[in-house]
């Protein structure tokens, strides 16, 4: 049995533990992965498995389009997303306005494109922030146990005791309107879940044979956490983080729907819906609330698909079984 450090020239955070390259003891579902071999480059391997998933590839394509739209979109749209035209409100789709105009006479297409940018900035920053916090604290809590576990878990208790939106509302109201208060507030009330997930994983893995084996040959705590626990535990946490991008996109929209967060004149998706609430049951005005709703759906769905693909590609236990 090769000790992981022998092949340890690849970053451990790719989520593929070296153990997985060894043949799994013939379980019912997994076919044998063949004799021990050197993995053909971890990222290449993940990509190879990811590519096989058609839906995930579609998701990735949409995410790519969203990201490109977020970066260059507002510079190429026909109208300024903030330009109101109170003489031409709630217009149906036409050659001048591809998706019609909203209740303030803004070009809906340009407004939605601006919304992509806002959603991407908020979602990616929030998830990155909460992931760093959650994984670090969760791993420490689960592995070390005792006082650090108690301290960290009681802290997550406090943060988890506030529902995401309620907590975010309080913080955003206290900090004032703007994009950064929203990011910080959402990260503050979402890191605890990934910390708990991470802790649960670390707790279970701490007792596993390979951690015991690593310890028996003299590996230190730090090494065991970084090399053995993290790679094996990170996959569900990472997938959770990716799924939570959708949650953040929705939370941003929800905050705006309630009238807090980004300033009211910003064409944010939730804001576009809330300003059209009085048209909810009006025939012929469906596009007012349906187009931002579809924009939210497409975004969250695309990220969910990518998260799925990643989960399958990262999960070492499913390796060779797919």
């Amino acid at each position: 049995m090769t000790h992981p450090s022998r092949t340890g020239d690849v970053p451990a955070v790719t989520g593929i533990p070296v153990e997985a390259a060894l043949p799994t003891a013939g379980s019912q579902t997994a076919t044998t992965t063949g004799p021990p071999r050197h993995p053909p480059g971890q990222f290449k391997d993940i990509w190879r498995r990811y590519r096989r998933n058609k839906l995930a590839m579609v998701g990735l394509l949409i995410v790519a389009i969203l990201v490109v739209t977020a970066i260059i979109g507002p510079y190429v749209t026909p109208y300024d997303a903030f330009d109101q035209n109170l003489l031409d409100t709630t217009a149906p789709p036409s050659p001048q306005h591809l998706l019609g105009t909203d209740v303030l006479g803004r070009d809906m297409f340009s407004a939605l494109v601006y919304g992509v940018r806002l959603a991407m900035i908020v979602a990616l920053s929030t998830v990155a922030l909460s992931l760093v916090l959650g994984v670090t604290l969760g791993a420490i809590a689960g592995f070390h146990g005792k006082a650090s576990d108690t301290a960290i878990m009681r802290t997550t208790d406090i943060f988890l005791a506030f529902p995401l939106l309620v907590g975010a509302i309080v913080v955003v109201r206290a900090a004032g309107p703007g994009v950064w208060p929203v990011i910080v507030a959402l990260a503050l009330f979402s890191w605890a879940t990934s910390a708990r997930l991470m802790r649960g994983q670390a707790l279970a893995l701490r007792e596993s044979e390979y951690v015991e084996a690593a310890r028996s040959i003299g590996a230190g705590n730090r090494r065991i956490i970084v090399r053995h626990i993290l790679p094996n535990a990170i996959a569900p946490v990472f997938v959770y983080a990716f799924t939570s991008i959708g949650v953040v996109v929705v939370a941003l929209a929800s905050l705006s729907y309630l009238g807090i967060g980004v300033p009211p004149n910003v064409p944010e998706w939730g804001r576009l819906i809330s300003q059209s609430v009085q048209f909810l049951r009006v025939p012929g005005k469906t596009h007012l609330w349906l187009s931002p709703a579809v924009a939210i759906c497409v975004t969250t769905l695309a990220f969910a698909l990518v998260a799925d693909g990643l989960r399958d590609a990262l999960d070492p236990k499913l390796r060779g079984a797919g």
Partner: protein, 310 residues
């Protein structure tokens, strides 16, 4: 077990104290509720009388301690808007929220566990693909949008009450609870199905399942008793957290459907900076969550004896 519960009880009280302190301090940034705003000019004398009436003239620590003291007697103070007892507003709305949460959880656990087990046991079959595709869609389409679409297309038809609602019209509880409960249940059902499928697949590959099969146990016993019980751990955690969140008021869904629960109460309180109501709702949801968290931990240990309690 007894000492464990006692210790967690003490921890729960500490969490509650910190959380109330946080919410108490944060709400003070919401601004002075009695100051002049826009066209509304309030004479300074009236402002002073109002502040004295609600105890806002006292220093912050005194206010906090007074609040905690009253809290023990379930006295949440008087709200700024209608000058009603906040406790009576809670008594009015909390049962609705509990009902909504329970109905939603019931729907999502039923759908989620059944779908997840089927998908895992019949892996790569038509059912597995169906569960995967449906759960992907359900997770991809946010609750918020589902709620809006249901209000736009379904509310007002069949037995479902019209939104916007009039609270003077009495509707049987199951008529008003169904649409929001369904809205809330969809995403949780999808997550539970996934969690269940994932952990079930993992468990099914484990040695003790092989042993169980080798002993000649029926597939029903292997799946129903050995595999399911061991796969439930992530689901229990998820349901615990989810129930805690739902009981704390599904603020967006309740607001969209104008469902008279504590979430909608909170949404309205935030609109007009009704601080006593905001604090009360958040404190109640925190309290509920802390209690549930304790229950989840005990269940967790019950389901997986390897997890140490002490």
């Amino acid at each position: 077990m007894g000492t464990f519960i006692l210790r967690r009880g003490v921890q729960a009280v500490l969490v509650l104290l910190v959380a109330t302190l946080v919410i108490f301090l944060a709400t003070f940034a919401l601004g002075d509720p009695f100051a002049s705003t826009g066209e509304k000019v309030v004479p300074p004398q009236v402002q002073a009388i109002n502040r004295a009436k609600f105890g806002l003239d006292k220093p912050l620590p005194i206010q906090y301690l007074t609040y905690l003291g009253n809290l023990v007697h379930l006295d949440f103070g008087i709200d700024f808007d209608q000058r009603r007892q906040v406790s009576s507003m809670l008594a009015e709305t909390l049962p609705n929220t509990i009902r909504l949460a329970l109905v939603a959880i019931l729907i999502d656990v039923l759908i989620g566990v059944v779908a997840g087990v089927i998908a895992a046991v019949k892996r790569y079959s038509f059912w597995d693909v169906l569960v995967t595709v449906l759960s992907t869609l359900a997770i991809g389409i946010p609750t918020f949008v589902i709620g809006i679409v249901l209000v736009g297309f379904v509310s007002g038809s069949w037995i479902f009450p019209v939104v916007p609602r009039s609270f003077t019209v009495q509707v049987p509880w199951y008529q008003e609870v169904l649409l929001p409960a369904f809205t809330l249940a969809i995403i949780d059902a999808a997550f539970i199905a996934r969690l269940m499928r994932g952990s079930m697949l993992e468990v099914l590959r484990s040695d003790y399942i092989r042993t169980a099969r080798a002993k000649g146990l029926s597939e029903r016993t292997v799946i129903g008793k050995h595999a399911m019980r061991n796969s439930m751990i992530p689901v229990v955690t998820y349901v615990g957290i989810s129930l805690g969140i739902l009981l704390g008021g599904a603020i967006i869904t309740e607001t969209i459907f104008q469902y008279n629960g504590i979430g909608y109460l909170l949404a309205r309180a935030i609109q007009n900076s009704n601080v006593p109501v905001i604090i009360a709702v958040v404190v109640v949801s925190v309290l509920i969550f802390v209690l549930l968290s304790l229950v989840v931990d005990i269940l967790y240990a019950f389901l997986d004896p390897r997890i140490r309690l002490d």
